[in-house]
């Protein structure tokens, strides 16, 4: 493995911008790594080698001309979740129904990455339409966890997280509707951030649940995530729900956090997100993380969020409802798959949707159609929206008592592929701790908190902050990361085993 693929994005950028390494060399090193391991990991659905090298060459050209880099990440390779539209690569959302679809437009996130000179290597695997917690629901086969290829990498953004853990890319973009950035980060020992709803444009993000979806940065370190966060965030007039406010200064916050002083900060442990139900190693690592935070000077307090226990139920009503409407457009009339079974448009629609959607997508469409039906709306969708209000209030009250809240990111470490694929409810329980943040539109991140003693697999510490409170979250995340690395004697990424043959 080339040394270049072991570097953090910040380190690699420094080498590229100082002309020690060319952007093309950096891109090629990662393309070689993908060629070497992705057959086993299957993080990518599409690799755009030619476009990646061309894009990197432009960065080199520009640096040769002594033009300052377009961004602090110019020339750094990145893996893009296949849910964001790209004009030069297919966008399939992990679904047969969009197999081979080439969007005629770039997502705003894609456009910002291009403008920043970031090298887009390819599109990463995901659960179909971002519905799932294991990437097993991808129509193109599961992604394997680089820590143990028989295990899931989490989902829906398992491809992006696995690409980082397999050193196929130092940066990735994920999207998080109920935990799809954070839970894979925990499963793969990487960092994943769900920004405040409205912080990153959703234009060109193929919708799962519009009121919950949010794209965010994935990386192997908190600082790298912060650098990427500042590239992709910001107001977009093409997204009505985009917040017209300055992007929180997360890079500065991450640098400050790495200095290791959290005096004066209160860290709230959410009582309802601790206790029984967590794997032993997950709980042990969480307790150890709390001790680290105290050592850094933070005051650890317990807070209560009584309605979080209803979050999962509310989420699995709101999400399917929005899904049932968002996915209605996949009807074989204008783009995507068409199954010519039957003589009428109606029959072709039904046959195409039957053939083009996988079982989890169909389940959620049916569930959502039910929840929105006139006779059931108030009891299900309407009531879920009220629970959503209560969860937001719980957060508001908790943030009165603490600057950030913490919990384990997921209840277990990565489970074996095939374990839960036929038990939807068991799969849904993975998202218990991550869902409240999506319902409230606030921000949260997952930072590796070690490996579980019993299985040697990574665990994640979730840090939650108020809307637009990313700075304090990054600060705490970076401080914890630095303390953890100091205790281990090496960066966490060095503990990732080499991908087995």
């Amino acid at each position: 493995m080339s040394e270049l693929t072991r570097l953090t994005a910040a380190e690699l950028a420094q080498k590229i911008h100082s002309r020690e390494v060319s952007a093309v060399e950096a891109a090629q090193a990662h393309l070689d790594r993908i060629a070497a391991v992705d057959e086993r990991v299957h993080a990518f659905l599409h690799v755009g080698a030619e476009a990646a090298l061309a894009s990197a060459a432009l960065v080199d050209e520009s640096l040769d001309a002594d033009t300052p880099p377009a961004s602090p990440l110019a020339g750094v390779p990145l893996a893009l979740k296949d849910v964001l539209t790209t004009t030069d690569m297919p966008t399939t959302v992990g679904s047969r129904i969009l197999e081979g679809w080439r969007p005629p437009y770039d997502a705003t996130v894609t456009a910002k990455l291009r403008a920043a000179g970031v090298t887009i290597l390819g599109k990463t695997n995901m659960d179909e339409f971002a519905m799932g917690s294991s990437t097993e629901y991808s129509a193109y086969g599961p992604t394997h966890n680089p820590w143990n290829l028989d295990r899931i990498p989490g989902g829906s953004g398992g491809g992006s997280a696995a690409a980082l853990a397999a050193f196929e890319a130092p940066l990735a973009i994920g999207t998080d509707t109920g935990g799809s950035i954070r839970q894979p980060a925990a499963m793969t020992g990487t960092v994943g951030v769900k920004p405040t709803y409205g912080g990153v444009s959703r234009y060109g993000l193929v919708a799962c649940a519009s009121s919950l979806d949010q794209a965010g940065p994935c990386a192997r370190t908190v600082l790298d995530a912060a650098l990427l966060h500042e590239v992709i965030a910001g107001h977009d007039p093409l997204d009505s729900t985009s917040i017209d406010a300055p992007v929180p200064a997360v890079v500065e916050a991450a640098r400050r956090g790495a200095e290791g002083d959290l005096h004066g900060l209160r860290v709230g442990v959410v009582r309802e997100l601790t206790g029984e139900g967590y794997q032993a190693g997950v709980q042990e690592n969480f307790d150890a993380a709390l001790r680290e935070l105290e050592k850094l000077g933070a005051e650890v307090v317990e807070v209560s969020a009584p309605h979080f226990q209803y979050g999962l139920a509310a989420y699995y009503l709101i999400l399917p409802s929005e899904v049932s409407s968002n996915l209605a457009r996949f009807d074989a009339m204008r783009y995507g798959l068409r199954v010519d079974k039957g003589a009428s448009a109606e029959e072709v629609m039904a046959a195409t949707r039957e053939a083009g959607f996988g079982p989890e997508v169909k389940r959620r469409i049916i569930l959502g159609t039910y929840a929105l039906s006139s006779g059931y709306y108030d009891a299900y969708y309407g009531q879920a929206q009220k629970v959503r209000t209560l969860i937001s209030r719980d957060f508001a009250a908790a943030f009165e008592q603490a600057d950030v809240l913490v919990s384990p990111t997921a209840p277990t470490t990565a489970f074996p592929i095939g374990d839960k694929v036929d038990d939807p409810l068991a799969m849904y329980l993975n998202d218990l701790a991550t869902i409240p943040t999506n319902l409230a539109g606030t921000t949260a991140m997952s930072v590796p908190s070690g490996v579980a003693a019993e299985d040697g697999l990574p665990t994640g510490l979730q840090i939650m902050a108020p809307a637009l409170g990313e700075a304090v979250m990054y600060r705490v995340g970076a401080a914890y990361e630095a303390a953890r690395d100091a205790a281990d004697g090496s960066p966490f990424a060095t503990r990732i085993p080499e991908v087995k043959r």
């Binding site: 964001l84 539209t85 966008t91 959302v93 969009l98 679809w101 969007p103 005629p104 437009y105 997502a107 959703r202 234009y203 060109g204 993000l205 193929v206 919708a207 649940a209 519009s210 009121s211 007039p237 093409l238 997204d239 009505s240 729900t241 409802s321 929005e322 049932s324 409407s325 209605a328 457009r329 996949f330 009807d331 009339m333 204008r334 783009y335 448009a345 109606e346 629609m349 159609t369 929105l372 039906s373 006139s374 709306y377 969708y381």
Partner: protein
């Protein structure tokens, strides 16, 4: 399907009370669509006015057009509605190929304008107040072209071709409250309401309101209740009613059809029907296999609209003089009797006369031209007065030419004929046809002398003081000059030449 039994209209209104409801869709003439920056112009090449948003491409998002909201609020204010201080768009979910997202973004239970009214004046001057339930914003669908089969209609077509240029064009839907107690005048009330609404929206300048182009579309809801019973009947909803005349005919037809059903002791089916322009009848739509449940929910991709009182007042300040205000002012300024005013309105001449006056003509002459000569021309051609190919400004110019003596009335009519025939502006017709009044006294004196010589007995009478006899000589001179002489001047010259 057997033809429905129809009951004689007079018999219907003897025994039943009709209850009307009208839903009118108006396409706004904004520069861009409701939720994206695509143009809204009519008649472009197919699928050339589209973008990811109005094509419903995966990942695309809507953003509300401010001008459409302003137009909706102005329409609401002009209809005396309350403007909702807060409201959201909703998704109306159903599958149909002309709808790119398979949901329509519309306002459902939170419309922008509610609870207004429009006063409608009937031909005899009766004023009917039509209650407005709501006006709300939504987006139009694309257009389908049905290929194969005999009729070009949806039934029997082999396949369809879709053009999404119209998809996403802003629509305002204006829904009346139930309109009771109109009796035999129900058809007339329906037509008068749609006419008044059209004039109102046209005066606001927010839509072309062209029923023939589909920028204004009307659905007619009708039910009958047994006379005096107060029991509400089952209603039918007739779509595809695309002219003012059709509105009237659709109401009339549905009244006679409903009565036929009820008289037979059967139940009226609550259904959507389609108006057939050629036969002035309605036909049933396909009965749906399941009752429609649109599964409305708040549109998560759009944020609520909360017009501030300041914004609403600012928009109120931009309302132009509304049609009824204008009528009242004109009646007073021109000192018209109620009957005269009504004739002008019923002839569809009021706005044209007013515009002619605004172009500089005296109101009396302007009225006279539009209600007599031009009305005859329109009648002969079988078109509405405002469809004649002559503008108020052109009429005003003709009047000016008459008052300056360059034309007499007979010549003026020829000039108007020329304009109507497409010969250009009035001055161009005058020049082209050589129609200027002969005002050269020398030429006229010669003609007068000739006429006097030809009728010595008449000349003698005039010389004897019988001035009235001059008329015969005037006629002869006019004939000799092919009408191009100024009759008044001819008369003066005759008397002069006879030593008067």
């Amino acid at each position: 399907m057997s033809a429905p039994t129809l009951v004689d209209f007079d018999d219907v209104v003897d025994r039943y009370d009709p209850v009307l409801g009208l839903e009118v869709h108006v396409e706004l003439s904004t520069n861009t669509k409701m939720f994206c920056g695509c143009p809204t112009t009519f008649g472009a090449e197919p699928n050339t006015q589209v973008c990811p948003t109005c094509l419903g491409l995966p990942g695309s998002l809507p953003v509300v057009n401010r001008a459409a909201v302003e137009a909706a609020i102005r329409i609401g204010l002009a209809l005396n509605c309350d403007i909702a201080p807060w409201g959201r768009f909703a998704r109306k979910n159903y599958f149909y190929p002309d709808m790119p997202k398979n949901f329509q973004t519309s306002q459902y239970d939170e419309p922008i304008a509610v609870n207004g009214h429009l006063d409608v004046t009937l031909e005899d001057g009766t004023v009917v107040r039509v209650g407005i339930e709501r006006a709300h914003m939504e987006e139009d669908t694309g257009k389908s072209l049905h290929v194969g089969g005999a009729t070009g209609r949806i039934h029997g077509a082999e396949y369809s071709l879709l053009d999404y240029n119209r998809a996403g064009v802003p629509l305002i839907e204006i829904v009346t409250k139930m309109i009771p107690d109109t009796g035999a005048r129900a058809p007339e009330v329906a037509r008068a309401y749609v006419t008044a609404l059209r004039d109102l929206i046209r005066s606001l300048g927010v839509s072309d309101v062209r029923m023939d182009q589909g920028s204004m579309r009307c659905d007619v809801n009708l039910s009958l209740s047994p006379k005096g019973s107060g029991i509400l009947g089952t209603r039918s909803e007739t779509k595809n009613v695309n002219s003012l005349r059709s509105v009237e005919r659709a109401v009339r037809y549905e009244m006679t059809r409903h009565a036929g059903v009820l008289d037979a002791g059967e139940k009226v089916v609550q259904e959507t029907r389609h108006f057939q322009e050629d036969t002035a009848t309605t036909r049933s739509g396909r009965i749906k296999e399941t009752s429609e449940d649109y599964r409305y929910f708040p549109e998560p991709d759009l944020v609520p609209i909360a017009p501030s009182p300041e914004w609403v007042e600012e928009l109120r300040g931009t309302l132009p003089e509304l049609p009824w205000e204008r009528r009242a002012r004109i009646q007073q300024e021109w000192q018209l009797s109620d009957a005269e005013q009504r004739d002008l309105v019923n002839a569809g001449a009021l706005d044209l006369v007013a515009a002619t006056v605004e172009a500089g003509a005296p109101s009396g002459e302007a009225r006279s031209w539009w209600v007599s000569y031009l009305a005859q021309q329109a009648n002969t051609r079988g078109v509405a007065l405002d469809e004649l190919p002559i503008t108020p400004a052109q009429v005003a110019r003709v009047i000016e030419l008459v008052s300056s003596g360059e034309l007499n009335n007979k010549l003026a009519r020829q000039v108007v004929d020329g304009v109507l025939a497409g010969e250009g502006e009035p001055d161009e017709v005058v020049a082209g046809r050589g129609l200027a009044v002969v005002s050269d006294d020398g030429a006229l004196i010669a003609a007068v002398d000739e006429a006097l010589a030809a009728q010595p007995d008449v000349a003698e009478k005039i010389r004897g003081g019988k001035v009235a006899a001059a008329g015969a000589i005037v006629g002869a001179v006019m004939k000799a000059t092919r009408g191009q002489a100024d009759a008044k001047r001819v008369r003066e010259l005759i008397i002069e030449r006879c030593g008067g």
